[in-house]
Symmetry: C2
Subunit: 103 residues, 2 copies
């Protein structure tokens, strides 16, 4: 299993609409990716390790697939529609990582 993580850095002065992200963006992404997307997860940053510290990421979104190839074939045809929706909920430039799920 692989995991596509989309990290939204907690940059000063930037905004992130978690309601839109959870209720419009993620459902649209799931609908576009179809059955090859095995799961989704979304988190909102609360803080860092030290009390009162800021989180590194204001939000994170994760998509699970059986393989990198499955992700590419599902995502490719809808890349424009999915990335084109980003300005509707944030002006943050996200960082993306592909990982292998070990546990």
């Amino acid at each position: 299993m692989i995991k596509i993580s989309v990290f939204y850095p907690n940059d000063e002065g930037k905004t992130f609409d978690m309601e839109y992200y959870c209720n419009k963006h993620i459902p649209m992404v799931q609908e576009k990716l179809g059955a090859q997307c095995k799961g989704v997860a979304v988190e909102q940053g609360l803080g860092g390790a030290q009390p009162g510290s800021q989180p590194t990421y204001v939000a994170m979104g994760h998509l699970y697939f059986d393989s990198v190839e499955a992700f590419q074939s599902a995502f490719g045809p809808h890349a424009e529609a999915i990335t084109g929706d980003i300005p509707n909920y944030t002006d943050i430039r996200p960082t993306i990582q592909i990982s292998e799920v070990k546990i």
Copy 2:
């Protein structure tokens, strides 16, 4: 539900022993934290968004709890044992984030 994410940056020249992490460190952490820890997840970084690019994090570990207070009460008494085991699998200094699970 909250999620404690431990990010290990992909720093040049650093090492990370994924075998030790999955088979020794994480089971020890789970044993110490007990039933208040509702789940664990571990990922190994494969790459970034661009083909051939490096992942931001070589590894990520996640712990799930019902609340920040539940994490603090479970982790506090074992903080030294848990953080003291880090040099046994890596010389990377991890970044920690606390998040609220939205989806």
